[in-house]
């Protein structure tokens, strides 16, 4: 049971490095990244992005996640705008060795969950301390 009241946060737009084909602003998704002994898990909030809108890339230890939103229906006149609408993009430097073939991604209710299994070499091993 959550007891905290949620506070609104303005979405953070990313500085544009490369000119985009699609107009509009791009935002940084809020993420949780945690590590289990076997894998690295990334959870990102990307409201408005469906499973087809997600692009993932892991190259030279840089993990890139992009989310393309389903554009809101046309022909509506905006009366009140409190939040901005746009695509999502974020990059992370991944320190761990990842088994690229076993990456699992799921998109549900606007939340992307990415499971990056660690490569055999990177799984921590308990080191036995022997009494001499």
């Amino acid at each position: 049971m959550a007891t905290k009241e949620l506070k609104p946060k303005a979405k953070e737009a990313i500085p544009v490095k490369v000119e985009r084909v699609r107009p509009g602003r791009v935002f940084l998704p809020a993420v949780d990244i945690y590590e289990t002994p076997q894998s690295l898990v990334l959870v990102a909030d990307m409201p408005g992005v469906s499973g087809e809108g997600v692009t993932l890339d892991l190259k030279e230890n840089v993990l890139t996640i992009s989310g393309r939103i389903t554009p809101p229906p046309e022909g509506e006149t905006l009366l009140v705008q409190e939040y901005e609408v746009g695509d999502f993009h974020r990059e992370f430097q991944v320190g761990e060795l990842i088994d690229q073939d076993k990456i699992e991604a799921t998109m549900k209710d606007g939340v992307l969950t990415l499971i990056l299994p660690k490569a055999e070499k990177a799984i921590p091993r308990r080191i036995e301390v022997k009494a001499a």
Binding site: L6, Y34, T77
Partner: protein
């Protein structure tokens, strides 16, 4: 209610705020961001027949949402739950937040309280409200005399 006493200070404030936003938009061309300071933030749009209230609620399940409409006030209440991982887990980043929310959104136009529909898709809540006949724009035929 007599029109003489149909004064709602909150509505007056909101209208003033919206007018200010529009003024800023005309001057600087930036989209006006109207800060209510209450979660969730909403965007309100309209067509000839409907009013749409949208909010970004990623990861919120429909069963954890409660939407009520009274007069021109739309109340959005709910809870965003984030399952906590086990003991073994170590966090690198934790930016996503869980918690409850309750917000009243004053609708800018009157709506028909019998025709309301709310849907959740990809973490976006859309509340579709129908405008009553009286407020729908009507085309007036100009007859030649």
């Amino acid at each position: 209610m007599s029109p003489l006493f149909d004064f709602d200070p909150f509505r007056e404030m909101e209208q003033l705020q919206r007018r200010m936003d529009r003024l800023f938009q005309t001057l600087w061309g930036e989209p006006p961001l109207w800060r209510a300071g209450v979660y969730p933030l909403v965007n309100i749009s309209e067509t000839k027949d409907h009013v749409f209230v949208r909010a970004e609620l990623p990861g919120v399940k429909p069963e954890n949402l409660e939407i009520t409409l009274k007069n021109q006030n739309l109340v959005i209440r709910g809870e965003r739950q984030i399952t906590s991982e086990g003991e073994e887990v170590n966090y690198h980043r934790r930016e996503r937040e869980s918690g409850y929310f309750r917000r009243v959104v004053r609708l800018p136009v009157p709506v028909d309280s019998n025709q309301v529909e709310a849907t959740m898709k990809d973490g976006i809540l859309t509340v579709t409200l129908a405008k009553p006949e009286e407020v729908k724009p009507r085309q007036i035929q100009v007859k030649s005399a």
